[in-house]
């Protein structure tokens, strides 16, 4: 049973009890969430492809004691090299405000699965290393002292709970001091990568990026086939002949899609092609960079920069003036905060397709034939509002394209995470994921909307699963899907 009731005003039930699957939650999580663990990639070929040997700083055959020693030493080093990490290790007052703001805690009610609980797994080590002075004495423990500390280090527990954090930054927004657990999580995962540890789903996805430039291993020929299919379908639905341009030598605009738009989110790809065409842009996609996602954000700095540089190189190849970024949440954070400054070095601008669309609507360059007859609510992706400055643009687009737009209670910076961000889109975490996404789905359901909408590929993979699991009468779509439907009066369910 839940230990603390979290409920909406006027509702008697806890949000978990509001699900028809609540009895399954009781069976799964009454004892906490420590049993739901991310696996570790062991495939040497995959690890070699993604250059793990280059990043590993400890012998793969090291003993458990040596691994712990490395982990503890790196915590000390990070505190000296990262202002954010050091700040967050030293300034928490344990007020507990973050606990019930974390949707992973809301989903599991496990104290270790809360920002302060998760941070303390590491903070307890750091504190002992700093001789209990929280850093005033800037001297790390010596080898002998480290030996005594490592007995208390439980690497398995730290791995488990650091792969139950979605890096959504809701804690940072609500914490009175702005302590950002996502940055602590990124720091700890960086250490795990240096120890050769990464979940298979993330490692295999990265392997695809190394091989093809996108997460789904789509080859150039496969991409062209999908685009042919999409433009034919657009033609059938709208009577308009459009072109899905790939690898044009010189284009003003380079569009970077999500590779999942070539499989499950075809409506979003149709929307993007339609927007580019209607705006009359000289645009192209690049077959070696069909990916907005950047799983490096979840793991380590090297991969983040490497995947970000893929986009910069594609922009240079296509001699683009502007790079338009497709629908993706976490990828936007990496794009805005790494790729855009890199593009700026070459005089290239980087914007989101939601910005382009919203600005075009404001300028009267996009005219809609018919608003979509639907009631829609918007899920703010965490990385757009709490790391990417994209708040009003998607709202403007939806209000221009649908008959009725309803705000949900937890919106904008207070948005609830989908429960699969931070690289948690793992099959082995499914028991956790279906509950971690529930607070957001329930929040959307309470608006009475028919559609829950977000411009985020992880949301598009996660929410339909959560919606189906909890038997909620909601459908999930991307923002560009509605742009396409409204431009040509197409039934949204046929998009």
């Amino acid at each position: 049973m839940v230990n603390v009731k979290v409920r909406y005003r006027g509702e008697g039930k806890d949000i978990l009890e509001a699900s028809p699957r609540y009895s399954e939650w009781v069976k799964e999580f009454s004892g906490g969430s420590g049993h739901v663990k991310a696996r570790v990639e062991r495939d040497e070929k995959t690890l070699s492809t993604i250059e793990m040997s280059k990043l590993m700083r400890i012998n793969p055959n090291a003993t458990e004691r040596e691994r712990k020693l490395y982990f503890v030493r790196r915590i000390g080093e990070l505190a000296r090299s990262s202002r954010a990490f050091r700040n967050y290790m030293e300034s928490c007052t344990h007020c507990g405000f973050c606990i019930d703001k974390c949707q992973m805690w809301l989903a599991t009610r496990d104290p270790n699965n809360s920002p302060v609980g998760r941070a303390d797994l590491v903070r307890n080590i750091y504190r002992r290393m700093r001789r209990l002075t929280y850093g005033l004495i800037d001297k790390l423990s010596d080898e002998k002292e480290l030996e005594s500390i490592i007995d208390s280090v439980d690497l398995d527990k730290i791995w488990t709970y650091y792969y139950q954090c979605t890096e959504c930054r809701r804690c940072a927004y609500f914490c009175p001091f702005g302590i950002d657990q996502a940055e602590v999580t990124r720091s700890i995962r960086q250490i795990f990568v240096e120890m050769g540890m990464m979940p298979p789903f993330i490692a295999k996805t990265m392997e695809c990026v190394y091989k093809t430039g996108n997460n789904m291993c789509i080859t150039r020929d496969a991409a062209l086939n999908v685009i042919d299919f999409v433009v034919n379908e657009i033609s059938e639905q709208t009577g308009k002949r459009m072109e899905g341009v790939v690898d044009k030598d010189k284009a003003d605009v380079l569009y970077i899609p999500s590779s999942t738009d070539f499989f499950t989110n075809i409506g979003t790809l149709k929307g993007a092609i339609a927007i580019m065409t209607e705006l009359g842009l000289n645009w192209t996609m690049d077959s070696q960079s069909l990916e907005v996602a950047n799983f490096g954000l979840f793991e380590d700095e090297y991969h983040l920069r490497r995947f970000g540089d893929n986009i910069v190189n594609a922009a240079l190849r296509r001699k683009a003036k502007v790079v338009v970024f497709g629908e993706c949440g976490h990828g936007w954070r990496a794009f805005k905060n790494y790729v855009v400054p890199r593009l700026a070095e070459h005089g290239i601008e980087g914007i989101s397709i939601t910005q382009l669309t919203a600005w075009a609507i404001k300028k009267g360059k996009l005219r809609f034939s018919k608003k979509v007859d639907a009631v829609v609510t918007y899920h703010d992706p965490c990385n757009l509002v709490r790391a990417g400055d994209l708040v009003e643009e998607p709202r403007l687009i939806l209000k221009s394209t649908v008959k009725e737009f309803r705000e949900r209670e937890h919106n904008r910076e207070r948005t609830l995470c989908c429960g699969a961000g931070g690289g948690l889109l793992l099959d082995e975490l499914m028991p956790l994921r279906v509950w971690a996404g529930w607070p957001s789905v329930y929040d959307a359901y309470r608006t009475g909307a028919q559609y829950m909408v977000a411009p985020c590929s992880i949301d598009k993979a996660q929410f339909p699963v959560v919606i189906e699991y909890h038997k909620v009468p909601l459908k999930f779509r991307g923002v560009s899907d509605f742009v396409y439907a409204a431009l040509y009066g197409v039934d949204i369910d046929a998009v």
Binding site: T93, D100, A172, L304
Partner: protein, 251 residues
């Protein structure tokens, strides 16, 4: 010694310790290539378009505690009130004590008594509420908050306020003038004996030791905010980006 040498030591430890601590945070830097694990910016609040808005945001967090009032299923009015009264009570009490160095500012004894006891009582009540809440968090959320520091910090402030309040309630009116002479003696580096009152001795000693304690512990928290990359740093001006993109697209 305790009331002539220790005040200087306490002040030096407090100021140097806090500055040193901030210096250590700043020295930690961003990381390789000037990035936070690959990212240029970590700001959590949208539309933070300049350093001025960042400063405003930090000051708002420091002095209004507005994030506690943000609704996430509910608004925690009680805790916000406890936090606001406790912190603002401390700010006011510190401000009242500056009167020791401004004797030319004449305030009737009755007014000083009412203001001191009222603000002291409210601060004490809020502090006790926050201490009880802190103990209660462990029970409610089944979390283990076992750092002694978590309890020492707030308990120590409660002790200081209790001693100060007791002093205010029991001390004769003449004590204020004796305290002024002692305080002015400290600023002119001349030894003037402190008022002969056990509560005064205990109150001042508790404050001195607390000043020494601050840089060593999480009482450093207010100073962490201006050097927290999630709070400071700026995003670009979106309107400026829009204009540049429009130019490039020929719109």
């Amino acid at each position: 010694m305790l009331y002539f040498i220790l005040p200087y030591i306490s002040l030096v430890v407090l100021v140097v310790g806090v500055l040193y601590r901030i210096g250590l945070w700043l020295a930690a830097g961003k990381g390789p290539l000037g990035l936070y694990l690959g990212l240029h910016r970590l700001v959590v609040k949208p539309r933070q378009e300049g350093y001025l808005s960042a400063v405003g945001h930090i000051l708002a967090r420091m002095f209004t505690y507005y994030t506690i009032l943000k609704a996430s299923y509910r608004r925690d009015y009680a805790t916000w009130l406890g936090v606001a009264l406790f912190h603002w009570g401390i700010f006011l009490l510190i401000a009242f004590h500056l009167h020791l160095w401004l004797p030319q500012l004449t305030v009737p004894e009755s007014l000083m008594f009412i203001m001191g006891t009222t603000v002291g009582s409210v601060t004490l009540a809020a502090g006790v509420y926050l201490l009880v809440r802190r103990v209660n968090i462990q029970r409610v959320y089944s979390v283990t908050i076992n750092y002694l520091d978590d309890y020492v910090a707030v308990s120590w402030v409660i002790l200081i306020v209790t001693l100060g309040l007791a002093l205010r309630l029991t001390a004769p009116p003449s004590l204020f003038n004796e305290a002024v002479k002692w305080a002015l003696g400290l600023t002119s580096f001349k030894y003037v004996p402190p008022p002969s009152n056990p509560l005064f001795y205990a109150h001042v000693l508790a404050v001195e030791l607390f000043m020494v304690y601050i840089p060593f512990a999480k009482m450093i928290h207010p100073f962490s905010m201006p050097v927290n990359p999630a709070l400071y740093g700026r995003f670009e001006d979106i309107e400026e980006v829009r204009r540049r993109v429009m130019d490039k697209l020929g719109w």
